[in-house]
Symmetry: C2
Amino acid sequence: MSIVNRQLRLKTRPEGLVQRDNFDLAEQSVPELKDGEVLVRVLYLSMDPTNRVWMRDIPQYLPPVAIGEVMRALGLGRVVQSRSAHYAVGDLVQGITGWQDYLVLHESAKGYVRLPADPGIPLPTLLGACGMSGVTAYYGMTDIAPTQPGETLVVSAAAGSVGSIAGQIGKIQGARVVGIAGGADKCRYLVDELGFDAAVDYKADDFKQQLKAATPDGVHVNFENVGGDVMKAVLSRMVIGGRVALCGLISGYNSGDKPGDDYGVFVMKRLRMQGFLVLDYTKTKEAVHAISGWIREGKLKTEETVAEGLENAPVVLNRLFDGSHRGKLVLRVDGKG
Amino acid sequence: MSIVNRQLRLKTRPEGLVQRDNFDLAEQSVPELKDGEVLVRVLYLSMDPTNRVWMRDIPQYLPPVAIGEVMRALGLGRVVQSRSAHYAVGDLVQGITGWQDYLVLHESAKGYVRLPADPGIPLPTLLGACGMSGVTAYYGMTDIAPTQPGETLVVSAAAGSVGSIAGQIGKIQGARVVGIAGGADKCRYLVDELGFDAAVDYKADDFKQQLKAATPDGVHVNFENVGGDVMKAVLSRMVIGGRVALCGLISGYNSGDKPGDDYGVFVMKRLRMQGFLVLDYTKTKEAVHAISGWIREGKLKTEETVAEGLENAPVVLNRLFDGSHRGKLVLRVDGKG
């Protein structure tokens, strides 16, 4: 009985938005397992802005995905065959699964987390608030640029998977939290459902005026996910000595354009900016423990948008950039209810 | 007996390099002193890149110099008349004197340092290594981004007033120090006279290759004075987790162009950048004490380029941007030998 594995392999590097035909949908038989290997059925794929960066042939923190290679992505799967004493059939596995239906994993592979068959948390939440997105928000707000009570925090892409958690952690820290998001619906969501103090619509004509009105004492900490003009507007509101936790620059991920960033404001306002990546935090237990605790206590709300179908991955990824999702965007690939 | 004070007043805001006719040379009689006032004869003016920024009508850390106002500048003068118990005739005074021959100063004015008539240090060195330039270098290298022994420090504008001191402090800290300067003469000066481990000519066609060869272990700390393409090249050599002490961005001070800065590298390499201004360090005694000690011990070499004539100030300032000086650029305004 041969199992067919579908894989999305990078065919050509996208220009601008990702197109379906930038990828080949290949099918191959899953080989027989060797000692120490397990077969993992991928259930959910994490759709992350950094995926788009991995497709680009530019210097970055990991090698770009090579032409012909299965697209790299974080995912969550279940062990369906095991020739390893470390993994039982039924276990969940989180780690780099790639855009495919099945993954053959050796028990010695690094970067994979084994979870019990029933982790007590919905699987999309595991990939989101308790996964890379939440852990990123946690370390950005605790290690890179924590807020003091009464300070003003501005989070961009605040309705997204990282920003929504970062802003809520700011509230837990006692900050005044202002979120930047696209459209009135998301802004209402931030204030009414997540408890932000204010929200500003970057698509509004009077975005800068709104931002100014929402930050009467200036901005002490900027948790930045977007870059470009949105970040520029926030930097113009920073207080002297403000801090920037630089998490991402999603506004530039689809384009190779030279950005109009300007280091000058960092001198004028004596700002500190620190870039960070979640992969530097190898011990994420503290973060996951804190986040799941806050969820149980009702201090942290999570939301996921679930799309369907492995073959749709290239198109679904674009939703990260057009703003048509809220919270964590995941792709269900196993087709079951 | 009336004393004539010549003043250079900003007439029009320069575009690009400063022109002499951006200033009016006005003459006025020095008024009679009131109680608590002293008359200071300006001896030397400190020529600083930040002067050029002050001429521009853009948001900055101090108000721009207004049209019609005496050009703001740091200087060193001597008390020639006193109606204050705090200042004796003959005392030296360092502070904002402006581009003029005489300054009427009230004893309560803040930001002025009284020095004895004979401070035991040449006056241009007082304005340079023991003045704002040296103090800037000191806090950048001790408070903002100190180096650990064996780390690689890259300093841009390394033959200038701040860079030459910052690099030498890096050597005192035990770092491998690489200076970036324009032309073979300055590069030789950095290595042969100041003891830098290597120097790289940013005007050379193979600048980037030179920089790579001079930093085989990457760059741990960047003391940045220049910005633009020079900084971009240095950032491309940073190690993961590197630190940037952002002191100045002189490459952009003459132009209003949008710079091609890119925050992306700060994420990819998890860099920390902190802008700073010497004016935040109000207690500079520690710095001046350390610097003058190193000078006496022969660990720190200083150099000044002395130009002459108040009326030449606008043109002399441009020498900061064309690279035709070494060390601290000062302007002698009292015309005496």
